[in-house]
């Protein structure tokens, strides 16, 4: 039950929802939403709604996955059955396994695993509503949830999608642009550092275009990073700070 292909994806130099080429959908970030999780966060790109929860470090079970030298990261990405127009079959699918794996590899770049040997850190990413860029929203939420859980990290991970529609490079694709655009690429970077930890692309593209898209993604990731930082600082913004009793 997909919405039919619109005649044009770009009208008078603007995208269908009235955005400029290098503009995000409204971003909403919340940290510490779930009380029973050690760390949690919500990250929204317009209609894409990702919720992440972190448990741990906790004793690793089954025991054979324990590593006597360092902690183990376990990521689980899943889409809620009601998240798209067509019902998603609950449980793991090929796609969920793949995304869980790429999220795991991206997050593994920043976590200090040596601090907690023999333990496991569980990261759950649940997509409550999907409208393209779910892995980016999920990754942003997961990195915030890890910070909220007090897990030692080198930096946050910021992620956004870029794409090409009708020959234009655009930032943060929505569902329609994802389905009918030419190229769709997910990029994740280590905070404000110039290091890419996730890069996935779908479509046909020239080298020049790819480099241009990466430039746009870089600017996008820095903007996301600022938003994440702001959300974390807001959580503890109550007057003067003094912890040492």
């Amino acid at each position: 039950m997909k919405v039919g292909k619109p005649e044009e994806l770009i009208v008078k130099g603007k995208r269908l929802d009235g955005r400029k080429f290098e503009e995000f959908r409204p971003i909403i970030v919340e940290v510490g939403t779930l009380k029973r999780a050690q760390g949690s966060a919500i990250f929204r790109f317009g209609n894409t709604y990702a919720l992440s929860a972190v448990y741990g470090p906790r004793t690793a079970h089954p025991r054979h996955i324990q590593d006597p030298q360092k902690a183990v990261l376990r990521c689980r990405y899943s889409m809620a059955p009601f998240s798209t127009k067509e019902r998603v079959r609950p449980g793991t699918s090929r796609r969920a396994v793949e995304i869980s794996k790429v999220l795991n590899s991206a997050l593994s770049n920043v976590i200090f695993f040596d601090d907690y040997p023999k333990t496991v850190i569980d990261v759950f990413v649940e997509i409550l509503q999907a409208d393209a860029s779910t892995r980016c929203a999920g990754l942003n939420a997961a990195s915030l949830a890890l910070t909220d859980a007090g897990i030692p990290m080198k930096n946050l991970i910021s992620s956004c999608s870029v794409g090409k529609i009708d020959g234009n490079t655009v930032l943060d694709l929505d569902g329609l642009e994802d389905n009918y655009g030419d190229v769709d690429m997910a990029v994740a970077m280590i905070g404000n550092e110039d290091k890419i930890v996730l890069l996935q692309m779908d479509g046909i593209i020239t080298k020049e275009d790819l480099l241009k898209m990466l430039e746009v993604a870089k600017i996008g990731c820095i903007e996301i990073f600022e938003r994440q930082k702001q959300a974390l600082k807001e959580r503890y913004k109550t007057g003067e700070i003094d912890v040492e009793g």
Binding site: G56, T59, V110, Y116, K118, T147, L156, Y236, V243
Partner: protein
Amino acid sequence: MNEVKSEVLVKERQLVIPGETLATGLDFLPSSGSFRIDNEIKAKILGLTRMKDRFVGVIPLAGVYIPKRGDGVIGFVEDMQTTMWIVDINSPYDAKLVLGEAVGEYVDLNKTDISVYFDIGDVIYAKVLNVSKSKQVSLTMNDYRTRKLIGGRILKITPSKVPRVIGKEGSMIELIKNKTKCQIIVGQNGIIWIKGEKEGLASKSILTIEKESHITGLTDKMSKLLEKEGG
């Protein structure tokens, strides 16, 4: 060698996020909660900065309890073997309490079941005797304060906020003890045991401290709150 100017970029007790640069140059050293990368010292956890001499570190605002030698902890007896108990101490690592460290007398294992000392489900206040490199935690009851906790109620708070609940030289916890006339034991692992008539008031005030732990002048605020409610 290229010279980098050594300076601290953050204020004392400033909220920082992972990856935030705390200081530059080689004149400063990272302590807990921070790490060095090239010429910069960066935070690795969400928390408040702490500076002592040349050390720059971060006090965490969240996180799990990692046992240290000498800590007093409250644990739940989880399992029992012939000569030892396995104790859950609210940490990723379970602790063990061997018979010799738990009981001061000779125990004839042929005649006695060790559940007469501690049984599964019991709550104990114990000291961490040692933490091995492979994170094997052993407990001891050879301390005048350690004992089995009977009755009362248990509270769980974030382990990093325990120093705040205790206060400077125990000022905060003494205040609550005096006002509520309760027995209170605070474990370093974030588990608190309260027993007395005004358990409700005591637990309420401890939870308030946990919630507002990053605010200054908390002791005065708590004293007013207890004054009002306790009468």
